[in-house]
């Protein structure tokens, strides 16, 4: 028997109001005028005031990662003699997100918390505050291939939510502060997961990097990609960053060190002194990204990095499709193996 509750919009808004006393609550909302074209809107993460603000029918353009891994984050402030760390908002965080995006957080955790000898101090601070509310995914959106990536199901959430006939149905694993049970009507609810996408991806297994690196399929991408890095910034699993120092103009002895998201697709990512740079060709960068997402990350952490959300395809101005590229790669590798 799965515990759950049914809420009317009014009841759920009462729940939201209560939650917001202690938590910052984030969900996909409509960001007015923030779209790709002038006067267009976009769905992104924000703090909804009411349940009606939450967009259930569209995929969010950006992922939820910016909430606990900000695009631009101050690591410390300094004066001539000392440092101070920025204050962290004491409230915990609740995020509404789908199964693939919950898996994506696990992918970030692997790098930020488990890679190397110690967890990332700043990431851990925010990440340890986060609880998930799973948004049921019933129908696949454009460009999604979560089923191929095995990320369409998850058990990792405090509560789930879907809209059905004007009511909000929640499966509750953790009754946050006892609020779900006091504000909703108990009933059995089972979360629903998408079981089929229009896009199927064949994951190439046991890739031999020597063969892959030489393969001509990358040339096409080298010619088309403009190194804008959108595929990286929209990806819920990309974690790379660069450090930046700034000082304040009115007092050059004071300033801050920040980190900002970085991208393996853009120029300068691998530049070293003496004019050397690695992966200068865009074709090599595409190969590096694809191999990271569906091959070498798995060698390190046991799961593929890509969760199949399709955001990179949604945003690429050159209409480069990551899923099609992976399929081509699988085919190319198969051909090479057959010829051996």
């Amino acid at each position: 028997m799965l515990v759950g509750y049914r809420f009317s919009a009014k009841e759920f808004n009462a729940l939201l109001t209560e939650l917001k006393q202690k938590y910052r609550v984030y969900a996909p909302v409509l960001l007015k005028g923030k779209g790709r074209f002038s006067n267009s809107d976009i769905v992104g993460y924000g703090e909804p005031n009411t349940i009606e603000d939450i967009v259930f029918g569209h995929k969010s353009y950006f992922s939820a990662k910016e909430i606990f891994y900000p695009i631009n984050q101050t690591l410390f402030y300094f004066t001539a003699d000392e440092y101070s760390e920025p204050k962290v908002d004491p409230r915990d965080i609740i995020i509404f997100l789908r199964s693939c995006d919950i898996h994506a957080v696990d992918r970030l955790d692997n790098i930020m918390l488990k890679n190397g000898s110690e967890p990332d101090y700043y990431y851990q601070q925010l990440r340890s505050k986060v609880k998930f509310i799973l948004m049921d995914c019933i129908n696949s959106f454009d460009n999604c291939f979560c089923v191929s990536m095995g990320t369409n199901h998850t058990e990792n959430y405090s509560a789930s939510i879907r809209v059905e006939k004007g009511f909000y149905l929640c499966n509750v694993k953790e009754d946050i502060d006892g609020l779900f049970s006091t504000l909703g009507t108990a009933m059995e609810v089972q979360p629903q997961f998408v079981e089929k996408n229009n896009i199927l991806v064949n994951l190439p297994e046991n890739l031999d990097l020597d063969i892959v690196a030489e393969h001509e399929i990358w040339q096409e991408y080298g010619a088309r990609c403009i190194s804008c890095g959108r595929c990286n910034t929209s990806c819920p699993t990309c974690s790379c960053f660069t450090m930046q120092d700034i000082f304040y103009q009115d007092n050059p002895n004071c300033g801050e060190r920040r980190r900002v998201w970085a991208s393996c697709q853009v120029d300068g990512f691998t530049d070293v002194a003496g004019g050397h740079s690695f992966r200068r060709e865009k074709s090599q960068r595409m190969r590096f990204k694809v191999m990271h997402k569906v091959n070498d990350y798995k060698k390190r952490f046991g799961v593929h990095m890509c969760v199949g959300c399709g955001r990179c395809d949604d945003v690429c101005p050159e209409y480069i499709s990551f899923s099609r590229c992976v399929n081509k790669l699988a085919l190319a590798v198969q051909e090479v193996n057959n010829n051996d």
Binding site: N115, P119, T270
Partner: protein
């Protein structure tokens, strides 16, 4: 909460030695305990941070030889002996120095590549009985680029040191070898090839051709070590800049055995 590894600490400058126009050595007072070939992240708040190898160390101090190439290194070169630097680390792995004991060790370094191996050379200079035989080959662009001239003069009294420059101006007064470092490799006396260990550090092309030259002489791949330089921001396995395939150079490197390094494809 765990301690914050991104916070650097203050290390006073004890002494600055000018090696060349662009490479200066800084001795800092600090109590970290680096191993041969490790690096630290050096920073000047307000300017930035960069990875620099520890070129020598001893009780209560470390040394770094820093080439002025850009933002941070330019400001470092403006400091004087009463200033301090900020550092965090040490990071990365190190040369397997104990495994070289009793062997014939050959170190081939190109340019600033001499910095990461200098502490290892000093160690064997102080403890010559630890090695059966020792060759150091160092290649620089021109006579003006030669690093650690004083130290090299001392080393020469105890073991085989060969310095070569790519080009020497007729008026430079250079009496040493001219030509690529790879030219020196065929001349080394390799009496105990099984017991010979080779370390190569320098720019990517230099490491590649030097390794091929040693392989030609019959040194086994597993007996060769290299040290890689990659763009690095964190040194902690998080920022992703140094990643090659599934390897993080800041964690599993910068020192690699050749059997592994030849498989790393950027």
């Amino acid at each position: 909460m765990t301690k914050n590894p991104y916070l650097p600490f203050k290390a006073p400058i004890i002494n600055i030695t000018k090696q060349t126009e662009t490479d200066w050595t800084y001795r800092l007072a600090c109590n970290i305990d680096p191993k041969w070939g490790q690096f630290v992240e050096v920073s000047i708040p307000g300017v930035g941070e960069c990875p620099i190898s520890v070129s020598d160390f001893g009780p209560g101090y470390i040394e770094m030889t820093i080439r002025r190439v850009g933002k941070v290194t330019k400001v470092i070169h403006q400091l004087d002996q009463t200033d301090h630097l900020f550092i965090r680390g040490p990071y990365g792995n190190h040369f397997p120095v104990p495994s070289f004991e009793g062997k014939h060790l050959i170190i081939a370094a190109g340019g600033t590549g001499l910095a990461p191996v200098k502490s290892m050379i000093s160690h064997f200079y102080r403890n010559p009985e630890l090695l059966k035989n020792f060759n150091v080959l160092a290649g620089f662009k021109s006579p003006d680029d030669v690093l650690f001239t004083d130290a090299i003069a001392n080393w020469k009294q105890q073991f085989n040191v060969q310095v070569t420059v790519d080009n020497a101006d007729e008026n430079s007064g250079w009496s040493g070898r001219v030509g690529l470092i790879t030219n020196l490799i065929p001349e080394i006396d390799l009496a105990y090839i099984e017991n010979t260990r080779v370390v190569i550090v320098g720019p990517p092309v230099m490491m590649k051709f030097a390794a091929l030259e040693f392989l030609k002489r019959g040194i086994a791949e597993k007996n060769i070590w290299v040290s890689f330089e990659r763009k690095m921001c964190c040194g902690l396995g998080k920022c992703g800049h140094c990643k090659i395939d599934d390897t993080y150079v800041c964690l599993e490197g910068p020192v690699f055995n050749y059997t592994k390094s030849k498989k790393l494809l950027d």
